[in-house]
Symmetry: C2
Subunit: 271 residues, 2 copies
Amino acid sequence: MAASITSGVTAALAALDFTPTLAVLVPTRDEATAWYVRSIERAARKVGIACRVVQLDDPTPAEVAARLDALSADPSVHGVICQTPLPAGVTLDEVGAHIDPRKDVDGANPASLGRLAAGLPTYPPATAAAVLEVLRHERVPLEGAHAVVVGRSTVVGKPAALLLLEENATVTVCHSRTADLAAVTSSADVLVVAVGRPGFVGAEHVKPGAFVVDVGTNPTPDGSLVGDVDHAAVAPVAGRLTPVPGGVGPVTTAMLLRHTANAAQVIAADG
Amino acid sequence: MAASITSGVTAALAALDFTPTLAVLVPTRDEATAWYVRSIERAARKVGIACRVVQLDDPTPAEVAARLDALSADPSVHGVICQTPLPAGVTLDEVGAHIDPRKDVDGANPASLGRLAAGLPTYPPATAAAVLEVLRHERVPLEGAHAVVVGRSTVVGKPAALLLLEENATVTVCHSRTADLAAVTSSADVLVVAVGRPGFVGAEHVKPGAFVVDVGTNPTPDGSLVGDVDHAAVAPVAGRLTPVPGGVGPVTTAMLLRHTANAAQVIAADG
């Protein structure tokens, strides 16, 4: 599925007479981040997008902001993302505001989130966009369906909820304070889980036949990844369950590249 | 209750050595709007806020935008709102983007909505803020409660849902495409109705004992207002039901004034 998205990106890029550039700001030294950035670089190279990785060492908040301002202003850059984890004292919302919305291909600027909430054209966070892309690709009926999102982060839960609402689903957002989680989630036709806790969702949380999207990517001691869903327990109940690794993750990277290709087209068209 | 909010506003204003000004752009001739604007002027005068009403006749979208830009840039103005209905070809999101977020006391700029979604300080739309103020004033438990919002507009439904989420409620948003509305709404501990259809919500939609907030203000042939809730039918079922007229409406005006007082304080402090 990620492959079908990236082949669409390649086709879109064929119409451009330049190579789009995705700038990736990495403001901390972190092994998992480095691994993810390399995977973005590899995927970008395959479709014909250049990656410019900018590694900072122990930057101040002002330095992160200044670098994002500079990349936003650089006419040779078409997409700008800032990797987490962020240095102490820096929040994604604060730095996100320094990414030009036209280049905000991972929807980190609160202005982009606001446009999403207002139903205006924008780049949603790539992970949230990937959740919707998986559902569309699998032709999951969303109109009038009950979609339950577990997790209310600014990068996944809330934007996924807004996108599901845009698709005319009835949307419920659950979180750590939800009183009887299983009672709510087990009424979901579509269940999106993004809490960052390995195996958090079990069979008792899932309506038989539901489509379950596991957004979790929790590292295991052996260097692999597990999702937020207990796959062994849920697979027999769910109608369909996206795998981890290999589900939303690669589609997220593909969406990042699609957004970058779109941004390059828009910027080129605007001169 | 509106009185208790406005007395707080008066107290806050006592600390200022100038009279804050709320600019109200009215881009169409509409009787209901004119009535509402007069009620804002009266309420503002009472607390010591000046209202500058700017009536435009049949403006182009560019004229509306230019006027909002000018009011945003005017140092003697502390809050800027734009009344609906808007002229043909103009959307609130478009014109809202021309209101400086520091003066956006009715949360019309998508950037303000994005800050709300990101959990950053901002002015939510006054109606959505009023819904939360009513719930707080009545000490309705929200943490872990199931709050259902019927209606997904950018000015009420979505921002109210985001504010309820911020209060740790489990939040469901329903709308015209929701499959079995009564099944969803009758599980709500808190039910917020903002659909703009007189008497739309009946007893079958309400869980016994639920707190029901009726945001509807639908004009009746005799010149009065009715809500979106069938009050005769729902009152015996609901634990509490806000009246129309006299419920969310006056509190909305009070919130607009509170936001304007806050904006004046922030702008004064920033020099």
